[in-house]
Symmetry: D2
Amino acid sequence: MSASADDGAEALLGAPLTPRDVAIKDLGRALLPSPVARHLGDSALRYVGAADKVLLDDAVSAIRSDADAGERAAFELAGPRDRIFFDPRTVRVGIVTCGGLCPGLNNVVRGLVLELSYGYGVRHILGFRFGYEGLIARHGHVPVPLTPEVVAHIHHDGGTMLGSSRGEQDTGEVVDNLEANGIGILFVIGGDGTLRGALRLAAEVERRGLKISVVGIPKTIDNDIPFIDRSFGFVSAYSAAVDVIRSARVEATGAKDGIGLVKLMGRHSGFLACQAALASTEVDLVMIPEVPVSLADASSVYTHLSKILDRKGHAVIVVAEGAAQEQIGSPAGVPGTDKSGNAKLKDIGTFLRDRLGEHFAGRGREVTVKYIDPSYAIRSVPACPSDSIYCWNMARNAVHAAMAGNTETIIGRWHGRFVHVPMQLATRGRRQVDPSGDLWSSVIESTGQPRIFA
Amino acid sequence: MSASADDGAEALLGAPLTPRDVAIKDLGRALLPSPVARHLGDSALRYVGAADKVLLDDAVSAIRSDADAGERAAFELAGPRDRIFFDPRTVRVGIVTCGGLCPGLNNVVRGLVLELSYGYGVRHILGFRFGYEGLIARHGHVPVPLTPEVVAHIHHDGGTMLGSSRGEQDTGEVVDNLEANGIGILFVIGGDGTLRGALRLAAEVERRGLKISVVGIPKTIDNDIPFIDRSFGFVSAYSAAVDVIRSARVEATGAKDGIGLVKLMGRHSGFLACQAALASTEVDLVMIPEVPVSLADASSVYTHLSKILDRKGHAVIVVAEGAAQEQIGSPAGVPGTDKSGNAKLKDIGTFLRDRLGEHFAGRGREVTVKYIDPSYAIRSVPACPSDSIYCWNMARNAVHAAMAGNTETIIGRWHGRFVHVPMQLATRGRRQVDPSGDLWSSVIESTGQPRIFA
Amino acid sequence: MSASADDGAEALLGAPLTPRDVAIKDLGRALLPSPVARHLGDSALRYVGAADKVLLDDAVSAIRSDADAGERAAFELAGPRDRIFFDPRTVRVGIVTCGGLCPGLNNVVRGLVLELSYGYGVRHILGFRFGYEGLIARHGHVPVPLTPEVVAHIHHDGGTMLGSSRGEQDTGEVVDNLEANGIGILFVIGGDGTLRGALRLAAEVERRGLKISVVGIPKTIDNDIPFIDRSFGFVSAYSAAVDVIRSARVEATGAKDGIGLVKLMGRHSGFLACQAALASTEVDLVMIPEVPVSLADASSVYTHLSKILDRKGHAVIVVAEGAAQEQIGSPAGVPGTDKSGNAKLKDIGTFLRDRLGEHFAGRGREVTVKYIDPSYAIRSVPACPSDSIYCWNMARNAVHAAMAGNTETIIGRWHGRFVHVPMQLATRGRRQVDPSGDLWSSVIESTGQPRIFA
Amino acid sequence: MSASADDGAEALLGAPLTPRDVAIKDLGRALLPSPVARHLGDSALRYVGAADKVLLDDAVSAIRSDADAGERAAFELAGPRDRIFFDPRTVRVGIVTCGGLCPGLNNVVRGLVLELSYGYGVRHILGFRFGYEGLIARHGHVPVPLTPEVVAHIHHDGGTMLGSSRGEQDTGEVVDNLEANGIGILFVIGGDGTLRGALRLAAEVERRGLKISVVGIPKTIDNDIPFIDRSFGFVSAYSAAVDVIRSARVEATGAKDGIGLVKLMGRHSGFLACQAALASTEVDLVMIPEVPVSLADASSVYTHLSKILDRKGHAVIVVAEGAAQEQIGSPAGVPGTDKSGNAKLKDIGTFLRDRLGEHFAGRGREVTVKYIDPSYAIRSVPACPSDSIYCWNMARNAVHAAMAGNTETIIGRWHGRFVHVPMQLATRGRRQVDPSGDLWSSVIESTGQPRIFA
């Protein structure tokens, strides 16, 4: 798939798995006319038809080599349907935000509430507090009734008005609670752990024969969920990182042989590090999980840095938190996992800070390393204008999907358009930076670093 | 083409015209190996092949209905080629910026210079001053030699370090100058008028049998050039507009029945007005050229505003400069054209400011209209982080295209990827907001205004 | 008063008028112990004593030359008093914001409400809507009950949550309304016209023998009210102007012989123009009302600009709206006055834009003037952090003054400390930039322009 | 000195020590006429006379109680003198920046160079690199010749273009270097350690009978140098801290019983913590070195926090780095001193983070503490507009002082005016927040916390 700009997503699609749109089982019997055009006084509104699908691979070569065009892998286009499954007057909707903060969470919550209220006339929307924990009745968190008034201004603030938490909860208890609250649609905003949890909820819902739609809005500040080329909040995040990198550069220039070192989010995927470095234009070295790197004394990392220090008198490094993990000497105890089930990473930031000092000291060069770990400063910003629009559209499409009876679905983005991506596909792997692709090329041209460290 | 998110572009492609890639005539005889991989120390670099094309229409339905897949309309993918036409050691390159300011101009100039210098080893780059005017020898503007050092920090500033001007110049004189300077590649950064001028240059070049590549980087703060779903600087522009709209809202709330009125760029296309309104979330009414509107007293515009004033006590309007032109009573003299050949618009901003006051006064309601025309404040901002990346990639791809011998080509963007778009196609019409498409739907949901004014 | 940094204030104090602190007439009989220390759980709180006064002139030379040190002019220090006049449990307080918008209005309103509520335990606070107009009962504007909850977040927004209006209202009607609402304290936030109105209110209050305290918080984006060296919102305003000047500079550099022209507020005083130019560091010429300027063809203004254009290729001008009024040819009709009673100014901005073009055209130089009038963009910004603190302290001191029974008083600032300034003194003239003082020196060093235009 | 708003400065002035202006010894013989008025084409310029002094105490009560007004403590007013000591055509000037970064360093360097060049016509200015280290010849750092062109744009960047370093250098070697370079004036920009070093330099200069003026521009992000009520960069620093506090608040609201904890600079003085908290308006608890605090389980800190958590569900704490040092259990090794000779502090941030968790866990309340240490992000920002002006004026006055032959002097600010403060006085102690003064009152009213922790 040479024509793709979407590093890392396409490799996940094995031969047998093509996108399969998932809808509530007995959908056929209950389809109602959509009220959207009427509510919006919009007779010209164009509904999306079932045949509106976007090819997974749109390279001309792919078309040629494929005998049966009709069987080609494709995603259902997102958007309003002319027939919907849930009755807006009676359906009860739940919203929950899970995992770490990410810019735009409040925008998505607000968008869901506005589209449900104004587009469809839905009247019962509950915000569950503090992630999946708020869906466990015995924890006693009272859900917040959400109305357009309640959410009107929340997007001016970062974070999530619902609160969040990490970690799984008992699937049965959660579905009990959904039943007890009469929930027909549950919007789950969260990362891959959260979406896997949502899949289990959907399975339990199906097992019990319930008609509850579970729709995910993928949240990943690492931008690593497949089939969504831009996760919400990602632009805000790398934009905020630019300011941090500027700080690091200023600090670096303030000292003789100063090195500014910034650790950014990115457990397995270096998108944030790459885009922040590109946007900043002030970075001399980027390290990401996808490109192995040696920190042995003779390695090219140090050679590159020496040249930079010789030429400019200072250097700036951006390292993704998941980079160079294999280079960090194992401490006695193996790192465990956090509440979200993610393996705890060894800290490349402090390791590198110390290692750089040692390396250059061993060569008679006293460098001054200024290390910044800006995690909270980045994830807590309000959505930038671009993300503000993006979250709004993602939320609208999630509402359209759910009202039409889709379930086990997330809203993805493929070749510039919003599409329905089966939740199973979206949780199957992760997007990564392709070490021989254009994004990484762009980074190495910007930094002047070698493409492959040896 | 129901699956397209790209309002307005597809309608331009008539049956006979499919994208045709344009290259310098006797390209075949002179192809050199590309030095990019070598210069970047990047053996893994993936060059783009001639067959890497992106379908114009990637809806499944389009594929099915088309017998001969091979003849399908498609764009050449942008990116580095393994064989190039110009010898980097000897080629002389010119860069010129034309027309009104737009965020990111300096980023594009910087990107061109860096990619030419570091990617290809080009040594002779001239920046022509003040638009096409600087290409006329007798005007005496001395071109600026451009090196990585000269352009290193220019992107922190808005505007263009080269200066700009509007208007045509004599094609013959310009080509004389290109010959005199030994220019092999001319990068033209400008809008549709500028690109039409570039087409004429290319024609004259061909007539004279010269081997000069003319490559365009389309600049349009209105985002209305076809086959480029996002023009550089556009995100920066609508982000800056959000602050202006906030001012208007604050002013509106400061007075009884206050109305904040913001006029934004958009002669024929309302993209900037739409996206700024969406990003702001504080707008009650958007008026764009694509959606006709009556300003007669009984019209729905006033009804909508009255309701807003009743409910909130104030209202915010965003109007594109080209909206409602037919509603403005002709003054004695017909407006002429500006230097770029654009028809001068009648001023909807001041007209609407006065008309609103009159209308409501006639109904016993004294409104206070605060009118803001922020044109300079928006177009002069530095590129936001997202545009910083975008300009960098657009410039890199323009260099790849030119070095490989493409001419009469602009860098476009189709379905999320950079592509080569024949200049003739790009100047053939304009993108517009589809009044029954998703963008306008999104706006009317956000503002609550009627989709069609009557 | 050679040691003063406060251009323009000292000249206002004629021989007979020394500051006279004004308090409600029969203050002596009714003094209650202040609850502030108790409410704040703050036994260490230091109350301000009556003898805490700040010298008007603190130059050593002034002390020497003065026989009777005790009679020296001085201001009462602002701050909490240990005895107060109004009973916090029963007093009813009104707040009104008048005139044009200014950054920090919401901060002041919030500060008043918080200090009244938490510091003193006041329970009845009314916000009158839309300036003095809201104090006229027959206009039917319902006042807003103000509580800490209502005002908690208003300061994140520019403007005033109460709305504002210009112009006088009938003094008798206003006092009727105050009586009808049982108001004991009225906080008036406004400029010199507003404060003169407040003086009339206070006179009528005294005539009727009422015990209503009228305390002013001076608002002037021109920073021209005497005995207050920094008006609230002024720092925010000139900070916002810096961005506008940057736009003008970018526009100027984008054209051959480009001139960026920014008109800033400043009817009679050029403080905003001066400080904005200093903060920006990008201005080549500042014109203020205090320094007469000739725009005849041979004048030094043009000579200076010509040199700048020759050297840099562009120039940036900041002009205060009240500058060079005498240079603008009278149109047929004489400008009248606006609702606030201010004489309408002739528009120096558009005049200068046209005049510059004509002048240079007459000398064969085609300049491009980009003119920006950013009034709304500047006055509508939220308070910057520095003003946020400043407004909070100004509001606290206004509450302390009013609760202690002061009336006809504004909160001023003298030599770095908050003081009580009699309203009569504050409305007696205006601060102006001293053409031979340090501020103007600083400007001419920064711009390189001549100190006096001839 | 009850009338003073300047917490902490006045207590430093013991009976015997009144300000004593220091000038180069044989000043009388060599006074030249100042060229400033001539250079600025400014015949109206007002020079400052020797008698222009500002009273240390300007309270009326102070005047009354003092028999001999003439002997009253007072500061020499800063500003241009009509006679100067150094010959601008020949004097050689050095500039050095020392210690940690602080916003505005580049503005001060730029201001010095511009005033020296344009105001006085000085032609030889050297910037020494990396603090006092750059003044030691054998380290081989080449000084940078500074001209108006070199410094034109440096203020758009944070940090210092000269670089900096901590720590003392051999006084003799430094003075050797000054002699070798023929330096007549040395501007030292740094904190109290740096200024003590400068005093030693001045003593050595005097011992050798040299005519070198040593003038300090006090730099302290803690704002704790006496007799300067606002250190340059301080407004920029607390403004930047507001954003960090917002992040902490967003993080705190994102979790159940979330606590946002921000550690700010302030080794011995809590000004930054106080002003940042006031400007932010979102802080529930401020801890500063001047107010002792118990962290024992029953202490009022926890009681206050519990109430906040009960009421709001989250809390925000700002702690100055020097607060509560006595509460941190001594680790085995005693902390030493850093290169600047400052005692290393124990880390109250991480200590408090852990202690808060333990305390509440012990009471069955699981709090989530999000801890941010934003040091680099705050000190590396460019100067805000207000500091831009302030640095410019401070630099101008430093040049005036030095050219007139003052030495062992810093530029201070007293009651709103720039003054000459003897270096000995300025290094004699430090400004601190007065626990019973108005600033701390303002903080406790804003946070609702108890004034004194018990």
